[in-house]
């Protein structure tokens, strides 16, 4: 018997890059995050060979989740072919050997920056959102320790005040992406910076959403079938971004989230932000058989859970 025979074959890096301790720690934190929906769990957040702030939080979650039986989709701004998405996908595939796809329906893990796919996710899919700033209270309370106390006390008065100030100033809410939501009637949560269009998809969803901020060392979750409501007043409602009059130049699709593409003459073209979905629509236009899942918004722009969005364009009461 030789020592070399007993030793495992040399491998420069562990499966999934992270060593067993790092993965175990992340996994423990993820379980607590699922048990306390919307609560920010602190974690060690190791340095990865990708720049901090470029999705290392989502990456750590994906690396500790993925196994050889997984099928991975990575998107950035909805696009599979975006430079950063391509880079992260290459890294994860290199470190775990997972199969990759652009089809949201086929993926078991979807790591995303800034978007939720248009096709409805199903049970046992994990949506991993990369989060730059986990703290929904940041702009009313930049001090993290004080913000934590406010969460402990469920004291969100400053948030309501800031909503009210927006109404006074602009007669409407001016929050863009990352619109704050109440999760399971207890924690105020920043839903990564997904557009408001995607916020309703987290509510009572069949899939699991994990949100992770590597630089800020916080992760949180929205378990399946959990209440998620954007903060709004009884008489002035949250609105999603209007996609009316925007038609995708490549597929002719409407009432989906669109990228605005500036043209040299000052005008704009619109294209579907979800490239995986666009790819399927194009295949169908070419006459190929392709399985397209039901979408969150139908071809009239109606959200699939009737009554959840209390406001459509122009239906709020006048102030």
């Amino acid at each position: 018997m030789k020592l070399a025979e007993l030793a495992a074959p040399r491998q420069d890096y562990s499966y999934g890059f992270l060593d067993a301790f790092a993965k175990r720690e992340l996994r423990r934190r993820m379980l607590k995050a699922i048990a306390i929906p919307g609560y920010q769990v602190t974690y060690a957040s190791r340095e990865l060979p990708i720049a901090r702030g470029w999705g290392t939080g989502g990456l750590q979650v994906t690396l500790s989740l993925a196994g050889p039986d997984d099928v991975l989709k990575v998107i950035d701004q909805g696009a599979d072919d975006s430079v950063n998405a391509a880079n992260l996908r290459r890294f994860i595939a290199r470190m775990t050997g997972v199969a990759t796809t652009t089809d949201a329906c086929r993926a078991t893990i979807i790591q995303s920056r800034h978007r939720v796919p248009e096709e409805r996710l199903r049970e046992r899919q994990a949506l991993v959102l990369q989060v730059p700033d986990p703290e929904p209270l940041r702009h009313v309370e930049p001090n993290m320790s004080r913000a934590r106390e406010m969460h402990a006390d469920a004291d969100y008065a400053l948030m309501w005040l800031s909503l009210y100030e927006q109404l006074v100033r602009f007669k409407q809410f001016i929050g863009g992406a990352s619109y704050p939501v109440m999760v399971h009637q207890r924690y105020l949560m920043s839903p990564s910076p997904i557009p408001r269009w995607d916020t309703p998809t987290l509510h009572q969803a069949p899939h699991l959403t994990l949100l992770s901020a590597g630089r800020e060392k916080r992760l949180y979750a929205v378990p399946p079938y959990t209440d998620v409501y954007p903060i709004e007043f009884a008489d002035v409602h949250f609105r999603v971004e209007s996609q009316a009059d925007r038609v995708c130049a490549n597929t002719g699709a409407a009432h989906k989230y669109m990228d605005e593409v500036p043209q040299p003459d000052g005008t704009s073209l619109f294209r579907l932000s979800d490239t995986g979905y666009a790819e399927k629509l194009i295949k169908r236009l070419r006459g190929e058989t392709v399985k397209i899942g039901p979408t969150y918004y139908d071809s009239n722009g109606e959200f699939y859970k009737p009554g959840y969005l209390k406001s459509r364009d122009g239906q709020d009461i006048e102030l």
Binding site: L48, P49, I50, A51, W54, Q77, A79, S82, V83, N84, A86, N87, R90, F91, R94, P132, D133, E135, R138, H139, P142, R169, F170, I174, G176, P193, D259, E260, V261, P262, Q263, P264, D265, G266, R271, S273
Partner: protein, 377 residues
């Protein structure tokens, strides 16, 4: 050894300097050339902060300082003081700049296209340990270096020649915003006499600073300092998350007007970088606001953080660390590092004065305490 002794002090300081250089090893023209050629981003950073475009001299400064960047910047600034001002270059416009990298985070695609150019942004930061396998081998061949490059990418990919050369110039992204009324149009101005421009190397800065002073200060600012203050803004003590409208790296012509013929000609090109960030609902108004920073050399971190600070400095309720005076004073690398190391100078006169005051109070407190103890209860 006393560190400020009347006798022997001169000898001691000379020896200390010699020891510094002796430990760092000799510098030769070859070392300087190697630094200039293999560490262009370091050279760029020091040139930007040194406010002098001179790659060879900068490499020399870095070598001479043993890699201490604040010392290198100081060497350059000191050398700069010795140089006469011979001419003023003509104004250059973004769309005329030879551009090697121009990206926008605000849109998926932009007129002229997203041009990635040279960048490490999308690489995996894994140490290329195989490079060390050649340790000791002298004169590694180009082929060996090539094979390292292939291994580094994890594939057998090699740098390929594009079928079509990329365009040399690109329109500014902000031009589209202006066409759409999202940004104020650029002010129509009479051509400026460059000699009339406020110049931070000539006038001490006063506040509110002229726009030229602010942009010049940011161009010369300490990369780490700008990053640190800018990061505080990005993290939540400010704008939080404006959008990078454009990052651009390229080469700008130094266009001079011939003193006799009056013909404008290019005297050469300098590497420059610039960033523009936009913020919605700036100052509580429904409008877009633009922040800008440019510097000599390619330094993306400094220009992005600087352009965020440029926006912050216009904000009426900026955090104290983001006001114009705070930012511009405290990111000046030569002043900041110089003042920091001045604390190593002898301070025993001032210290003895403070100590005397402290002792006086302590003695008084002691006296009071013993008086109270001694007093009958």
């Amino acid at each position: 050894m006393a560190y400020v002794a009347a006798r022997g002090g001169e000898q001691a300081t000379r020896q200390a300097t010699l020891l510094y250089h002796a430990l760092n090893g000799p510098i030769t023209a070859a070392t300087v050339r190697a630094i200039e050629q293999s560490l262009p981003y370091l050279v760029d950073r020091v040139m930007g902060e040194g406010s002098l475009y001179a790659p060879e001299l900068t490499a020399l400064a870095i070598a001479q300082a043993g890699g201490d960047l604040y010392e290198a910047v100081l060497l350059l600034r000191a050398y700069r003081s010795t140089q006469p001002r011979l001419a003023y270059a003509e104004t250059i416009a973004q769309e005329q700049m030879l551009t090697t990298r121009r990206i926008s985070a605000a849109f998926k695609d932009i007129p002229g296209g997203q041009m990635l150019g040279p960048t490490l942004d999308y690489s995996h930061r894994l140490l290329r340990l195989d490079v060390l396998d050649d340790r000791g081998a002298t004169g590694a061949t180009d082929a060996a270096a090539q094979s390292h490059n292939s291994r580094e990418t994890g594939t057998d990919a090699e740098l390929v020649q594009a079928d079509e050369p990329a365009p040399a110039t690109y329109p500014p992204v902000a031009a589209w915003h202006r066409l759409n009324g999202l940004l104020d149009p650029l002010p129509e101005r009479d051509p400026v006499d460059p000699a009339e421009l406020p110049d931070v190397t000539r006038d001490p800065i006063s506040f509110p600073a002229p726009r030229a002073h602010r942009l010049q200060s940011l161009a010369r600012a300490d990369t780490g300092g700008v990053l640190s203050l800018g990061y505080a803004s990005m993290r939540g003590y400010g704008l939080i998350h404006p959008t990078v409208n454009e990052v651009r790296l390229g080469y700008a012509d130094v266009n001079l007007r011939h003193p006799i013929t009056g013909v404008v000609f290019s005297a050469g090109r300098v590497r420059v970088s610039q960033a523009e960030v936009v913020n919605t609902f700036a100052e509580g108004q429904a409008k877009l606001a633009l922040g800008f920073t440019a510097t000599l050399g390619w330094n993306e971190v400094k220009t992005i953080a600087g352009s965020m600070l440029d926006l912050e400095m216009d904000s009426p309720d900026a955090h104290p660390a983001h006001t114009e005076e705070f930012v511009l004073y405290h990111t000046e690398p030569v002043e900041a590092s110089g003042f920091c190391i001045h604390y190593k100078l002898p301070h025993y006169v001032t210290f003895s004065s403070s100590l005397e005051a402290l002792r006086r109070v302590l003695d008084e407190q002691k006296a009071e305490a013993s008086e109270q103890q001694g007093a009958p209860s």
